[in-house]
């Protein structure tokens, strides 16, 4: 989830364009992490040292690890340790942006350090990647009030992003919460009752809903029809079910899900406390609504 929020940070700071971010998020799974990015992330080298090593490597035609050892930038043990590092998503994103020429190593180093500092996030927070980090990222990003309602909304969003990564794909960046227009189109809705009452929705343009359904079902779908709606409905049902299990386990609150409904258009006027969470995928913006 850190990768997705960091992606949004790059957008907000206009360090990359939405198209560049989408492209990098899409190709990052096939990206090989280079030693320089790993060393910068571990705080062992500066971007300047990495650039010097790369220039030296081109001159000598040796492996980059050997060059860094010969230049006394790293020890042999440090090189071996770095190669054992599991590639974190945000590093793969950074590498993809550098490989495409959209950012320099120095630009990436500066951006990641600024983002970590602004959000009081340490390297161990990122490597732990636990619920505490998810809550911190969500709280810093959405600025909800400190009340019970916001607690539930934060838990809902945390589960939503995990489920998007699990069932749809990690190539998204969350956008700031917005006030929805009054009339929304292509709406899939599910109410939740029991220990608390809430309404949840997904909506988006035809092509976005079709792609969302295609990714969830693993089928190539072309039209926004009854079957596509059924796919999106089931994603919402699945996500809400997992949220209900989480709330039952964490807070001892039992929730029941109601059958989903689909609307061609829906008037949001009656939902005064609705919170709209747009998420930007490479195929367009998917909107999630939580009314609590």
């Amino acid at each position: 989830m850190f990768t997705q929020f960091f992606g949004n940070y790059l957008l907000r700071r206009q360090l990359v364009t939405p198209q560049q971010l989408s492209e990098a998020l899409t190709i990052q799974k096939n990206t090989r992490l280079r030693l320089g990015v790993l060393a910068i992330n571990a705080g062992l080298l500066t971007a300047e040292q990495v650039e010097k090593a790369h220039i030296e490597q081109q001159r000598t035609d040796k492996r980059i690890g050997d060059v860094m050892v010969e230049m006394n930038f790293l020890t042999r043990e440090q090189v071996e340790e770095l190669f054992k590092t599991q590639p974190a998503g945000h590093l793969l994103l950074g590498q993809a942006l550098v490989d495409k020429g959209y950012m320099t190593n120095a630009g990436f180093e500066s951006a990641i350090n600024s983002y970590k500092a602004e959000n009081s996030i340490s390297d161990s927070d990122i490597s732990n990647a636990d619920e505490a980090l998810a809550m911190k990222l969500i709280s810093n990003f959405y600025k909800f009030d400190a009340d019970i309602r916001s607690d539930y909304i934060r838990s809902y969003i945390s589960m939503l992003f995990k489920n998007l990564i699990r069932f749809i794909g990690y190539d998204f960046a969350p956008l700031e919460s917005v006030n929805s227009e009054n009339i929304i189109r292509n709406v899939v809705m599910q109410d939740i009752s029991g220990g608390m009452n809430m309404s949840t929705m997904i909506y988006g343009d035809d092509s976005v809903m079709v792609e969302l359904a295609s990714r969830f079902s693993g089928e190539a779908l072309d039209d926004y029809d009854e079957y596509t709606q059924a796919c999106v409905s089931e994603f919402l049902n699945l996500h809400n079910g997992l949220f209900a299990v989480n709330i039952s386990n964490d807070k001892g609150v039992e929730l029941q899900l109601e059958p989903q409904c689909c609307y061609e258009t829906f008037d949001m006027v009656g939902l005064s406390r609705a919170c709209v969470i747009p998420v930007n995928y490479s195929f367009g913006t998917v909107n999630f609504v939580i009314q609590l």
Partner: protein, 120 residues
């Protein structure tokens, strides 16, 4: 084996059919889109095994299960839900469920249940 799949989602019914066909290519499959249809079709078709969603319009899966068990005490009805809480499990067991299937449905889990039902 005659197997009934009951879910209001045509997407889930398709996935379930694929899972059942993979586990038992010779199975005869009957479909129902809500709890009311499930009770009616159970009475007319007498399937050997039922996969029943819990959250459905018209009549919930748990209500349909109760009616089916009233009709046939030996009915084997597997309840499927995305909400795998202790409370839901308890309700399903009390109502006489044969087993519980947590969504998203995995083909392997469906195969295990079919295999168990064949041995029983």
């Amino acid at each position: 084996m005659k197997i009934m799949i009951c879910d209001d989602s045509m997407f889930v019914r398709k996935k379930m059919k694929d899972a059942v066909n993979a586990a038992d290519p010779g199975a005869q499959i009957i479909e129902a889109a809500n709890g009311r249809q499930a009770v009616e079709k159970y009475k007319s078709e007498k399937p050997d095994l039922v996969f029943m969603d819990i959250i459905m319009p018209e009549k919930s899966g748990v209500d349909a299960l109760s009616e089916i068990i009233n009709f046939d005490k030996k009915a084997r009805v597997v309840m499927a839900s995305s909400v795998g809480t202790q409370e839901n499990l308890k309700q399903a067991i009390l109502a006489g469920a044969y087993d519980f299937l947590q969504k998203p449905i995995e083909n392997e889990d469906v195969a295990k249940i079919i295999s168990k039902a064949k041995e029983d």
